[in-house]
C-alpha cells in the first residue's frame, strides 16, 4: 500500500508505527521489568493476594520520660499521607537525611523535636477481624531509631 501512497501518507504511516508500536513496547517492557518511574509503571493494581494479615511501618516519637506518641500529620492531605510510603527508606538513608526526614514528619505532626528523645521506626504486623473490620497488632519490631 505504501508504494501507492503520497509522501505525506508514507510519512504518517511511519509516524503511526513509531508512536504506536514504540509506546506499546515501552509499556510492555515496563510491565515485564517492573519499572516504576511515573508515568512508566508496571500497572500493579491490587496484584498481590490479600489476607487477614498485613504489615505496616509506623513512626513513634518517644519523650524523655518514655511517653510514646504516634507521628501522624495533624492536617493530612492525600499528598502528605502518601509520604508514609517513604518510611522504610529511613533505614538505608544517611544520618543527615534521616534526621531531615524525621524532622519533616515531626513538623507535620505538630511535634517539637526538642520534646522528643528518640523517634522509632517500627514494623508492625497486624491482623484484621472480619466482623468488626478492626486491626489488632500481633508483632512489633524496631527497624531503626533516630535522634531528632
Amino acid at each position: 500500500m505504501d508504494d501507492e501512497a503520497g509522501p505525506d501518507d508514507r510519512r504518517q504511516r511511519r509516524r503511526a508505527r513509531a508512536v504506536t508500536y514504540g509506546l506499546i513496547v515501552v509499556l510492555l517492557y515496563a510491565g515485564a521489568a517492573q519499572v516504576e518511574a511515573w508515568p512508566l509503571t508496571a500497572y500493579r493494581l491490587f496484584s498481590g493476594v490479600r489476607t487477614d494479615t498485613g504489615v505496616q511501618y509506623r513512626l513513634v516519637a518517644v519523650a524523655p520520660d518514655g511517653t510514646r506518641t504516634p507521628v501522624v500529620p495533624t492536617d493530612p492531605t492525600e499528598v502528605s499521607d502518601q509520604t508514609s510510603h517513604l518510611l522504610p527508606a529511613l533505614r538505608g538513608a544517611s544520618p543527615e537525611r534521616r534526621r531531615a526526614m524525621v524532622d519533616a514528619w515531626l513538623d507535620a505532626a505538630g511535634l517539637d523535636p526538642a520534646d522528643v528523645a528518640q523517634v522509632r521506626l517500627e514494623r508492625v504486623t497486624r491482623r484484621m477481624d472480619p466482623r468488626s473490620l478492626t486491626w489488632t497488632d500481633t508483632d512489633r519490631t524496631l527497624v531503626t531509631e533516630v535522634t531528632p
Partner: protein, 308 residues
C-alpha cells in the same frame, strides 16, 4: 488522501499465523480515517485533562517538604517544593490549553500545553513515595495525541487521510495494552488465587467504602460473590484488546469499565474516574459506525419535536 478503506485484497489476508495477524493490524492502524473522528477523540481526551486540572487543589503539593519528595518520575528534575503560585500557574496554563483545543484555535499547541501541565502536576502530586495510578492512563493515552496532526480549521469533517486515521486507533491500542497489563500483573504475582481465594473479600474489608461497612459485609462475607467480582474484573482486563479491536464492543467495554471502577469507588473509596472518562473518550467515538458523528447525533436529538 483517499476515501476508501484499506485494500481488502491485501496479500496478508491469504496468509495465516502471527505474522499475518500483525500485518493485518498494521493495515488497520495505518488506514485513512475521517477528520471528525480524530477531532472527537482529541477534544474529549483534552476535556478529561481539563476536568482533572480544574477539580483538584494542586497547591497541596507545596506543603510537602523537599526531603519527603521523590524524584523518580517525569517531573523529578523540577525543584521541590514548587511554590503555590507556580502550581496554580501550571494549572491555569493547562486549562488554557484545553480551551484552545475545544475552540479549535491552535488545537495541537493547546493539547501539548494541557498535557505537559497535567503530566507535571500529576507527577508532582504522586512524588510522595507511592506510585499513584489515578491519572496515569490519561497521561499515557495523551502521549499518542501529542504526535497527532489535528485537522486544521476549514477541513471538511468527512475528509479522510492517513494522518487522521491512526491517532484514535493508536489510542485504542494503548488503552487495550494498559488494561491487559493490569490483568497480566495479577496473574503474574498471584496466579489463579487472585480469583479463587478470599483475596478480594480482604481487599474489600481493608478498604473504606463511602457507604459504610454494611456494603463491605454484603459482598465480603459471601466469598463466592467476592470471587465472582474478582473473576469479572480480571476477565475484563485480560480481554480488553478483544473488546477494543471490534467496533461494536468498544462502547460496551467503556460501560464495563464504568461498572468496574464505579464499584471500586463504592467499595474502597478510590477515585479512578479519570480511567473511566479516558476509556469513554477513546472507545465510545471509535464505536460509532463510519459516518456517525457526535455533532450529527446531538443535532438529531435537538431537532426532535418536544412531546407534551
Amino acid at each position: 488522501m483517499t476515501a476508501t478503506e484499506p485494500a481488502t485484497a491485501d496479500p496478508t489476508a491469504r496468509r495465516r499465523g502471527p505474522r499475518a495477524l500483525l500485518a493485518a493490524v498494521d493495515v488497520r492502524l495505518t488506514a485513512p480515517g475521517p477528520a471528525y473522528r480524530l477531532r472527537a477523540v482529541h477534544t474529549l481526551v483534552a476535556l478529561v485533562v481539563g476536568l482533572r486540572l480544574a477539580t483538584r487543589d494542586w497547591t497541596a503539593i507545596a506543603d510537602r517538604p523537599a526531603v519527603l519528595t521523590t524524584h523518580a518520575n517525569l517531573a523529578g528534575w523540577l525543584p521541590a517544593p514548587l511554590p503555590p503560585g507556580a502550581l496554580v500557574a501550571l494549572q491555569l496554563a493547562g486549562l488554557l490549553g484545553v480551551v484552545l483545543v475545544v475552540v479549535r484555535r491552535l488545537p495541537h499547541v493547546g493539547f501539548v500545553l494541557a498535557w505537559v501541565c497535567y503530566a507535571a502536576l500529576t507527577a508532582l502530586w504522586g512524588a510522595s513515595g507511592k506510585v499513584m495510578h489515578n491519572d496515569v492512563l490519561t497521561v499515557t493515552v495523551g502521549v499518542v495525541l501529542l504526535f497527532a496532526s489535528v485537522p486544521p480549521r476549514g477541513t471538511p469533517p468527512d475528509a479522510r487521510a492517513v494522518r487522521w486515521g491512526w491517532p484514535p486507533r493508536a489510542a485504542l491500542a494503548v488503552l487495550a495494552t494498559v488494561y491487559l497489563l493490569t490483568g497480566v500483573q495479577k496473574l503474574r504475582h498471584s496466579g489463579p488465587d487472585w480469583v479463587l481465594s478470599d483475596n478480594l473479600a480482604w481487599v474489600l474489608r481493608q478498604g473504606s467504602s463511602p457507604f459504610g461497612p454494611e456494603l463491605t459485609h454484603l459482598v465480603a462475607d459471601r466469598v463466592w460473590l467476592a470471587q465472582l467480582f474478582a473473576a469479572g474484573a480480571l476477565l475484563l482486563e485480560l480481554t480488553a484488546p478483544v473488546w477494543l479491536a471490534v467496533r461494536r464492543t468498544r462502547a460496551p467495554f467503556a460501560l464495563a469499565v464504568l461498572v468496574m471502577h464505579g464499584s471500586i469507588w463504592a467499595f474502597l473509596g478510590l477515585d479512578y474516574s479519570a480511567w473511566v472518562l479516558t476509556a469513554a473518550a477513546v472507545a465510545v467515538p471509535m464505536s460509532l459506525a463510519d459516518g456517525h458523528r457526535w455533532v450529527g447525533l446531538l443535532g438529531r436529538l435537538r431537532s426532535r419535536p418536544v412531546q407534551t
